[in-house]
Every structure is written in structure tokens, then in C-alpha cells.
């Protein structure tokens, strides 16, 4: 019995941290394709570009852990950055004031999500699909076919550095740390995992499941608007397509990082960090390897498919192992 036991523990350990193994695999094969891929500069670039998706994916992870989903992060990013841009243009607000407006609008948008999902009891997929469409329309109404570009003060943050490390990475690291502490070191975080694992048991255990899910959605919205602000700080302007498709990137990053769509399983660090950087790595790696433009989306889709396939093999194996030990119904 112990012989096969050892074999299983190795396989289990390997499957437990698939995100890390995949990350290393990708990193090596892209490195071989383009020799100077390994320089510190290109790694720093990959993480910098992945930071805005990473921040949004961290917010998305909260919602996925409670077993829900949030398709409206893209529109949230768009609406909050447009609102902040308008405040700068019209009222000449300084940088940090625009930042607070951006986060404020993000939280209000997310609060409507939370209200619809917890109070009106509409299922998350549909509620956030509706707010995605409505939010994008609202943003366009504010925009009124005016171009929004951010002033120097903010765009300089995008490329500025703090102790030699670009601002976006610093912010991303701070967000990851905050999220990790909230999830592992606060009661609210433990209750997020509990609600995600079994909502009914959580309710019976006396957890205020409504408040927990609501705060998860609000945080997801706040992080989405923060991610939006970081992205605009790098880009310099907001056009009508800003944020479209970010919801799928964020979900892909979280799932690549090992967070299960069914709730209760997965970690922020190193999970979401690896997931976000992996997605960015694939697209920039393909460009630097001068691969034909038309093949890019097909290759990145295949890599994500492989990652998710490995992850689901892991759940099947865990299930089989679990089955043998516990015999109750």
C-alpha cells in the first residue's frame, strides 16, 4: 500500500502547483525561441504589462472563491476611468482626487452588482452580464463622443519608478499582499472560502452569507477600477473599446492560477500572480519570437486549454484519492 502511496504523493504534489510548473515551462520554451528573453528587463516588462490584469484578476478571485462570477469588470474599468478623466478635464482635479473618483465610481458600480445579486437574488452570470452592457452604455453617454486623455501628472506615474521598480508592479505587489492578508489573516477571508465551499452550511454556521458575497463583489469592482486606472496611467488615453474583453482575461488568469470556477478552492499568491503573468508572457513571447500575426490567438488559446485540462485532471485524481479514504455516503 505504501509503495503506490509514495507515487501518489509525488503526482499529487506536482498537480497541486500546476500553475508554477506551467509558468516555468512557458518561460523556458519562450526563452529558447528568443535568446535575450531571459534578461531582467524583459521579465520586468512582462510583469509590468501583466499588472493591470493581475489587479483585476485578484478582485475576480474573491468573487470566484464565493462560487460567483463577475462579467462586468471590463465595463467597470471603462466607466470609472471615463468618469475620472471627465473630472480632470472639466473640474481640473489633481491626480489623487481623480484616483479617488475612479475608485468611488468602481465601488458604486460594484455595489449595484452586489445589490442585484444578494437582494434581488438574480444569478451572478446574468446580473453581471446585464450591468456589463448597461455600464458600457453609461460610459459612452458620459463620453458623448469626446476624446478623454489623461494629463502628464498621471501618465508619468505609468512609467515612473519607485526604488527602481516601475509603479504598476509596486501597486500590483501591494494589492496581492493586501488580498493575501485579507483572505488568510482575516475572518472575512476565511468566511469567503466557507461560503464558496458550501453556501448552505455557511448559513447554518451563522455566517452572514449575504454580507460576505456583497463585500466580495464590491471589492472586485474596486480592484477592477484600480486596475483600470493603472492601465490608463500607462496608456495615456481612454477610447470606447477600453476594458472590453478584460473580464475574460481576468477569469483566464485566475483559473490558470488554480482558482476553481466552482468556488472554495485556489489561492491569490502565487496563483493569480502566475496566471496573470503567464497570459502576458504568452502574447509578448509570441511577438518577440516573430510568430505570424494570424497564429497568435490560436496559440494562446491552445496554451490556456492545456493549462485548464491539466488542472481538471488534478481535480479528478484528488477525487479518486479522496474516495478511497472516506467511506460515508
Amino acid at each position: 500500500m505504501s509503495g503506490s502511496g509514495k507515487k501518489h504523493t509525488i503526482v499529487l504534489a506536482a498537480l497541486r502547483n500546476t500553475p508554477l510548473i506551467l509558468f516555468v515551462l512557458l518561460f523556458v520554451c519562450f526563452g529558447i525561441l528568443t535568446p535575450d528573453f531571459f534578461r531582467y528587463q524583459s521579465i520586468e516588462n512582462a510583469v509590468k504589462q501583466a499588472s493591470y490584469i493581475g489587479i483585476v484578476a485578484t478582485g475576480m478571485a474573491f468573487v470566484l472563491l464565493t462560487g460567483g462570477i463577475d462579467l462586468s469588470v471590463g465595463s467597470n474599468m471603462y466607466l470609472s476611468t471615463v468618469a475620472a478623466g471627465l473630472c480632470i478635464q472639466r473640474f481640473g482635479l489633481p491626480g489623487w482626487a481623480a484616483f479617488t473618483v475612479c475608485i468611488g465610481v468602481g465601488i458604486v458600480f460594484a455595489a449595484t452588482n452586489a445589490l442585484i445579486i444578494t437582494r434581488l437574488r438574480v444569478i451572478p452570470f446574468i446580473a453581471t452580464l446585464a450591468t456589463m452592457v448597461a455600464g458600457r452604455g453609461l460610459g459612452r453617454m458620459l463620453l458623448q463622443s469626446r476624446a478623454i486623455s489623461y494629463p502628464e501628472a498621471i501618465t508619468s506615474i505609468g512609467s515612473a519608478r519607485l526604488w527602481g521598480v516601475p509603479y504598476p508592479i509596486v501597486l500590483f505587489a501591494a494589492i496581492l499582499a493586501a488580498a493575501w492578508i485579507m483572505l488568510h489573516r482575516t475572518q472575512w477571508g476565511r468566511q469567503i472560502y466557507a461560503v464558496g465551499y458550501n453556501m448552505e452550511a455557511a448559513r447554518k454556521a451563522g455566517i452572514n452569507t449575504v454580507r460576505i458575497s456583497a463585500t466580495a463583489y464590491v471589492l472586485c469592482g474596486a480592484f477592477a477600477s484600480l486596475g483600470g486606472f493603472v492601465s490608463v496611467a500607462q496608456l495615456g488615453n481612454v477610447n470606447t473599446g477600453f476594458g472590453r474583453g478584460s473580464e475574460f482575461d481576468a477569469i483566464a488568469a485566475a483559473v490558470l492560477g488554480g482558482i476553481s470556477l466552482f468556488g472554495g478552492i485556489g489561492s491569490i499568491f502565487p496563483g493569480v500572480l502566475l496566471g496573470a503573468v503567464m497570459i502576458q508572457l504568452v502574447s509578448t513571447g509570441l511577438v518577440s519570437a516573430r510568430v505570424d500575426l494570424y497564429l497568435h490567438s490560436m496559440i494562446s488559446a491552445t496554451i490556456i486549454f492545456a493549462a485548464v485540462a491539466i488542472d481538471s485532471r488534478r481535480t479528478i485524481l484528488l477525487e479518486k484519492l479522496q474516495q478511497r479514504r472516506i467511506q460515508i455516503e
Binding site: M1, S4, I181, R185, T186, Q187, W188, R190, Q191, Y193, A194, G196, Y197, N198, A201, A202, R203, K204, A205, G206, I207, N208, G264, I265, Q322, R324, R325, I326, Q327, I328, E329
Partner: protein, 511 residues
């Protein structure tokens, strides 16, 4: 400070579900520092009353007095705050979290201002609580790796942690091994000495008699009788519960095993669960398979039916070999499998009763042309007939969802599902678990009739009394191996139990 008077008093509590009166005016009081045995058939209202007490439901009428003060909880959180802990049959634990997290999930020791939890103090308190329930496990093991017994102790530890004055145990022993039961009973006695009141709900009447100080018997939503332990015996409890004299719990055994072999199993094994199992099932025979939790009975059944594969040995059903097969093939060869858990693997709760009953037999020529086009009429007629035979009471078979049926009727629906496949070999895994005495009697009768008509029945159970009364032969299984075979007339309860424990003592390894 233990209040010598009443701990909890129910005044005329009534509760109605979908027009059925679950609680019809209950007036009852429980003193502190005692174990109260609460017994009654399924649907008698035991769980509903406890759910009202535990704040899961609000009563339609009536009032409760807790420690002298009026008490009406909105939700489970209020009940917990008042010191009432409810330990459900399906435990309320979070597999993905550690033991310490589960213990403090709704009340972590925290740094006042920041709300950040003090991990150190949490682990220390958790260790203390585990010692109180004599569970030696590292505090950060995820709960999904614990055995059911250990999980139950964690649940009790959590209740104690909130200095619970009243602990409700709903069917606590149904999934425990024998020594885990002894450990639980010891803990219950200690809690009682410490002044706690325990409500012990169980179908195992011997255990209730052994442990409780007072007994409360409920039937059809009201309290039929209550009193000290010494006024009660198992027979009286049954009479009160069922309300009519059951001279015998088990119907007269009519069928006799013939020589013809229906199922032959030789050297069947699968790593880690079943090891070199061999037996034979004859036509018309009811073969009992006794074993405690964790002995591999359910795994054996799943392998026979094709749900799991097996690494060695061979299988023969009605003369033809069977191997590497899927449930669909087993059904076509005449096997049927009533699973242990009817809610998860037995029924489509949201589906209608008729769609449930017809589900397994759709491919048969009687119910579909070339197993593609459904014969609606034939299905409707046969479902009506079988439901009548099994005395399955339902308002409207065609539109009523299965979730609206009582426990006993749900089990009959599952059996009806398998009867439609005209099975020759029936595997029944704990068919009478969690249903009332009346429904049990009817299920034993059905088994007898099927055996009489020439089917072979493999009856898996952890209640020896039930097997002794209905089976021709009993195989005893433990630790994945068959340790003994006893035929009718030579049933010696002590020897069977010893065989059941043998695997555990020698094996000793806790898988």
C-alpha cells in the same frame, strides 16, 4: 451557574409545510444537565422541532422559553449566541479549511482594531478544544482528510467552544465505527456531568435507551409520550412511535434459496478497497453483507455494478462473464443497485416521479422502440401499476417532483425505478437507512416477494438485527476482505460482530 429548573420550554409550537402540519401544537420542557432521547418515525417532526429550536425555521405559532426568558431566533446565529448548538446528520464543516478555521469560522480571536486574526491564539485555543473531545490531530489539517468520526468530534468541539448549554445531535452514530461510537457516548456522559443538556435523535433505539435519562416519543407532529428511561423498553417505544401494535418488525420469511447460481464472484480485488473477495449468490436467496463503516461494502457493490473498475478476479452474472463493464451493461444483464444515498445517487429530486421511475429502464423494448423512441403510454401504465404494488402514495405521479415525497416514499420510488428493469440480481445498499419503521416493514416485504419470484438479493447493512431477520446467509466483511460466513439457523450475533471487528484489530491501520 446551572439552573436546576427548566432549560427550555416549548409552548404549543405549530409549523406547516405545503399544507402538511409538520408540528401540531407541541408543548414540552427539558431540564438542564440531562440527555433527552428524542425518537419518532420519519416525518414525525423531530428534525423540524429541532430546526425551530436551532433558528433554522421560524414557527407559525407558539412560543419558546429559554432559561426563563422568551426566545425567538431569526437565524442560526441567534440560536448559537444563546448557547444552542445543532449538529446535523450531514456535518456542517468546510472541507477546504483547516480544523482551527472550522472551529472559529464565525468568531475568530482578533486584534481589536484591525480585525486581523491572531493566528497564534486561534491555534492554541483550537488545541485546547480538541483535547476536550480527545481528538489528537494537528490543528491545521484540512477537514476533508479526517474520517467521519473525527469530523463529528470537530463539530462537537465547535459547539463546546461557544459554551453551548444545549447540544442537539441528529443521527450522530449513523456513520461511526463501533469504537468511535463508544468514544462519542463517553464524551456525552462527560458533557452531561458538566451541566450540558443533550438532545439525542436516533433510529437506533437500543443506543437511545442506553444513553438517555428521559425519552420523548413523537408521532405525526405531536408528542405521544414522555418519561424517565426506566419506564421505557424498545417494544413500548416502537408501539408509541407507530401507534399500532407491530407484533413483529420483520415479515415472515417465505422464500427459500435454490441451488441455481445467479452471481459468482472469484478473487475480486481493487487496490486499497477490496481484497480477494469471493462469494456466490443463488436464485431466490437473500444474501446479507454485514460490515462496519469503512469495511469496503459500498466499494464492492460499486465494483459489481460497474461504477468502479477492479484490478483482479472475475465476475459471472447468470452464467455469462462480466468485466470492465459500465452500469448500462449491468442493467441489461439484470443487475440493479439501490444506492446508499437516495438524495445524491438515487433520485432526480427536481424531476417528476414518473420520469424518475422510468429512468433506468428506458432502453428496454417495453418502454422504447429500438431504445430510441419512448412509448409514453407503456411507461405511464407500468409506473402506475408498480407504484400501486409498492403502495407509493403520491398526489400526481406525472407532475409532482420527487422532492415533495416523504423519506419512505422516496426509497420506494428508487426501488420502483429498479423494478421496471426486471432485475434478476438486486444489490441493496442500506435500503432502510433513515426511514421509519412502517416503511422498513414494507421494504422487507418487497424483498421477500422479489426473492420468492426468483431474484437474488445482496442486502448490505450495518444493522445486524435486520440482516438476521431477513437473510438466508450473512457474509461479514471488514477491511476489504470477507472474514466469515454464517448461514440461517447458525446466526450468532457475538461471532458475527467479532468477525466484523477482526479486520480492524489485526489491520489496525487507520486508512
Amino acid at each position: 451557574m446551572i439552573l436546576s429548573g427548566e432549560l427550555i420550554h416549548f409552548g404549543n409550537i405549530t409549523k406547516e409545510f405545503f399544507g402538511i402540519r409538520a408540528l401540531a401544537g407541541i408543548t414540552l420542557s427539558m431540564p438542564s444537565g440531562q440527555i433527552v432521547g428524542l425518537v419518532g418515525e420519519n416525518g414525525a417532526g423531530k428534525s423540524t422541532l429541532m430546526n425551530v429550536l436551532g433558528g433554522v425555521f421560524a414557527p407559525d405559532a407558539g412560543s419558546m422559553i429559554w432559561q426563563g426568558r422568551p426566545y425567538s431566533p431569526e437565524g442560526p446565529a441567534d440560536a448559537t449566541r444563546e448557547g444552542i448548538a445543532f449538529i446535523h446528520q450531514e456535518l456542517n464543516l468546510f472541507g477546504n479549511l483547516s480544523i482551527a478555521d472550522n472551529l472559529f469560522i464565525d468568531g475568530f480571536p482578533r486584534v481589536r482594531r484591525l480585525g486581523v486574526l491572531k493566528r497564534g491564539t486561534a491555534n492554541r485555543l483550537a488545541r485546547q478544544r480538541l483535547e476536550a473531545v480527545a481528538l489528537e490531530c494537528p490543528v491545521n489539517t484540512p477537514v476533508e482528510n479526517l474520517t467521519p468520526g473525527e469530523q463529528q468530534l470537530v463539530e462537537i468541539a465547535r459547539a463546546l467552544g461557544r459554551n453551548a448549554r444545549l447540544i442537539i445531535l441528529d443521527e450522530p452514530t449513523s456513520s461511526l465505527t463501533q469504537n468511535e461510537r463508544e468514544r462519542l457516548f463517553g464524551l456525552m456522559n462527560e458533557l452531561r456531568k458538566g451541566g450540558c443538556t443533550l438532545v439525542f435523535i436516533s433510529h437506533n433505539l437500543d443506543e437511545v435507551l442506553r444513553m438517555s435519562d428521559r425519552i420523548v416519543v413523537m408521532r405525526d407532529g405531536c408528542v405521544v409520550s414522555t418519561g424517565e428511561k426506566r419506564e421505557y423498553t424498545v417494544e413500548r417505544m416502537i408501539t408509541d412511535m407507530v401507534g399500532r401494535q407491530i407484533n413483529n418488525l420483520y415479515p415472515e420469511k417465505t422464500s427459500r434459496a435454490s441451488e441455481e447460481v445467479l452471481l459468482r464472484v472469484e478473487g475480486l480485488s481493487r487496490s486499497g478497497t477490496v481484497d480477494d473477495v469471493s462469494f456466490v449468490l443463488h436464485r431466490g436467496e437473500i444474501l446479507g453483507l454485514f460490515g462496519l463503516m469503512g469495511s469496503g461494502r459500498t466499494e464492492l457493490a460499486r465494483i459489481l455494478f460497474g461504477l468502479d473498475s477492479f484490478s483482479a478476479g472475475n465476475l459471472e452474472a447468470i452464467g455469462r462473464p462480466l468485466g470492465g463493464h459500465k452500469p448500462a451493461k449491468s442493467i441489461s444483464r439484470g443487475l440493479a443497485f439501490v444506492t446508499e444515498n437516495r438524495r445524491d445517487e438515487g433520485l432526480l429530486m427536481e424531476g417528476t416521479i414518473e420520469s424518475n421511475v422510468a429512468l433506468a429502464a428506458l432502453r428496454r423494448r417495453a418502454f422504447s422502440r429500438w431504445s430510441v423512441w419512448i412509448r409514453g403510454g407503456a411507461i405511464r401504465e407500468r409506473t402506475l401499476r408498480t407504484a400501486g404494488e409498492l403502495r407509493l402514495h403520491a398526489a400526481d405521479l406525472r407532475r409532482q417532483p420527487a422532492r415533495n415525497l416523504s423519506g419512505g416514499n422516496q426509497q420506494k420510488a428508487v426501488i420502483a425505478k429498479w423494478l421496471l428493469t426486471e432485475p434478476k440480481i438486486l444489490i441493496l445498499d442500506e435500503p432502510t437507512r433513515g426511514i421509519d419503521i412502517g416503511a422498513k416493514y414494507e421494504i422487507y416485504t418487497i424483498m421477500n416477494n422479489l426473492a420468492a419470484e426468483g431474484a437474488g438479493i445482496l442486502f448490505i447493512s450495518s444493522e445486524l438485527e435486520e440482516l438476521a431477520a431477513t437473510c438466508d446467509r450473512i457474509l461479514v466483511m471488514s477491511n476489504g476482505r470477507i472474514h466469515g460466513e454464517f448461514s440461517r439457523g447458525a446466526f450468532d450475533e457475538k461471532a458475527i460482530l467479532e468477525a466484523a471487528f477482526e479486520g480492524l484489530r489485526i489491520g489496525g491501520t487507520k486508512r
